[in-house]
Symmetry: C2
Subunit: 332 residues, 2 copies
DNA sequence: TTGAAAGCGCTAACAT
DNA sequence: ATGTTAGCGCTTTCAA
């Protein structure tokens, strides 16, 4: 910038004023500066700008995996909303482990972001509270996280309860759960497993532990889980897959086994990703309140960014609901 | 940092040395500084650090939409590879328009990123060449882009040719193309349309312009395109969908119309997204060489980052190949 | 082993 | 309408 100023015979301040379109610059001077800028190929240094301004105009979104449709689709929704506030969303991955989640906070608190949206899966409340940050942060995620951060979550327990209740309501009596964590710990699989258990209790249908297959959350994991049930000869008449992606693997495995959906086996997923409605048959799923989640996250974070630290941390739970489609039968 | 220095009774330089783990610091001093740091909850300011160091350890990946599976999955692959080089990938969206693509470059050249991977869809070569950047950039994208940037692309024309040839080889004679741009312009739809035309010429099968339905690339767009053909009574025995996402919409529309796949209508997609193999029936698609693309992009960008401006811009075309699955019949 | 000085590139605040 | 001064928080260089 100094080069430009010298070359145009003005002060750096005037150059700065021109670049930022500030008013108090003569038309002739402006022209000259602009000409010099393009002549020299000058470009602003954002790092310096941020050092002065103390803000970057960027909001970070840190998620476990970039390629999971749920997060990718959430990112798209958030990008729309933040754009309206003049903020750009950038997405990075944590890998879903402690390390990566802590990194994300470190990176953000180091002022590269004006705010951070963090999907927490592996950090526990005590670790969270030890984070030194007064920067704006909104946690999302499945877990209950009593902490000093604003927190938006989907209603995992009730969503899973509804999904399972829906299946039981159609007459299913042996509902396999794929991906659930039967130990009921406070993470996503645990919470969804809890809803599964509640629905069974409400319907007075006993839960067979053999029907729970723990698995990871990829397509192949859903596939393998069904193969495993089939190979072990464990009978089931419905499947509650903990995510829609898992459900896709399940559907494939059922097809390979010559089982018809929903006639022989019904299937319900969770997340209601865009693809769910387009599968053949279309996938019944739990919609975790996508738009409301995105709205709440945006509100809370922009409030923190513009208004400084707000009072008590807010904890928002967005209601979930079953969207019935082709992989289930109508309620009996 | 000054606070810490004062409070620990040392100079800021010593604090800096401690933080960066540099050797020439006495053990006692180090302890004291460390203690003061955690006491005061001090955190480095990255903006300042970058201002000095001139690098950030971050590589930007700018794509049209965060939620398109092709890009989300590419991002995951790139993140793996760059992590091995100590670089973190952050993903942002351009919206697929000129404005956003220029923004992405601006943002990156302004030193927020050490390098940028830019998926170009709307910028043309002349605009690209006017970009003032000596920062490391690798373009990805479908278009031929003679420019001064390294450029990695999939072989759109040949991939589309193979897909279409495969269909013609199974006996299909009226292959609908969904999403293609019949004007043959140098963007992705145009290139894939070109491959479609070449395959027809090679097989001496005439192309019926009515079989080309222009559309956007969402699930619903594929659905609507098929409905449109059906409603207009245009007969077809196969579909070449320009992307797998479009193909999913197509499959759904065919199912709704009571048409069986592949018996009545065969379908081929493009991109070979992870989901393709798990659909029922599984989707025949064109694999654009995912791993090789990710490898090349990583090599070219890290070379630029560590080695400074390399000689001539490299232009890499990664070969594509058809992966035959359940939505097509075996070759005749 | 530690510190002082200088400056990275920018802009807010205050001259002129 | 334009310029001067000062300083954002850090690190490189050189001196003690």
């Amino acid at each position: 910038m100094a080069d430009v100023a010298r070359s145009a015979g003005v002060s750096t301040m005037t150059v700065s004023n021109v670049i930022n379109g500030r008013p108090r610059v003569g038309a002739a001077t402006r022209e000259r500066v602009l000409a010099t800028i393009s002549e020299l190929g000058y470009q602003v240094n954002l790092a310096a700008r941020h050092l002065r301004a103390g803000r970057t105009g960027v909001v970070g979104l840190a998620v476990p995996e970039l390629e999971r449709p749920y997060f990718a689709q959430l990112a798209g929704r958030l990008a729309d909303r933040f754009e309206a506030h003049g903020l750009r969303i950038v997405m990075e991955r944590t890998g879903g482990g402690r390390e990566g989640e802590l990194d994300a906070v470190a990176f953000s608190r180091l002022r590269m972001y004006d705010g951070l949206i963090l999907s927490v899966v592996d950090l526990d409340p005590s670790e969270l509270n030890q984070l030194r940050t007064d920067a704006p942060v909104v946690m999302i995620g499945e877990r209950a996280l009593p902490s000093r951060f604003d927190h938006v979550m989907m209603d995992n327990v009730d969503g899973a309860r509804q999904a399972t209740a829906y299946l039981l309501g159609t007459g299913a009596r042996r509902v396999a759960m794929i991906g659930g964590d039967p130990t009921g710990s406070a993470n996503m699989p645990g919470l969804r497993a809890e809803g599964y258990a509640i629905a069974h209790a409400e319907a007075a249908v006993p839960v067979d532990p053999e029907l729970n297959v723990r698995s990871s959350f990829g397509l192949q994991d859903g596939y393998d889980a069904i193969r495993s049930l089939l190979d072990r000869g464990i009978g089931f008449d419905a499947v509650f897959a903990l995510t829609d992606v898992v459900a896709m693997g399940v559907l494939r495995a059922l097809a390979d086994a010559g089982l018809r959906v929903p006639d022989d086996i019904q299937v319900v997923g969770f997340d209601d990703i865009d693809e769910a409605a387009y599968l053949v048959p279309s996938l019944t799923s739990v919609n975790p309140g996508h738009d409301e989640m995105a709205d709440r996250i945006t509100e809370l974070l922009t409030a923190q960014i513009t208004g400084g630290p707000t009072g008590d941390p807010k904890e928002v739970v967005v209601p979930a609901r079953v969207v019935a489609r082709g992989t289930t039968k109508p309620p009996a």
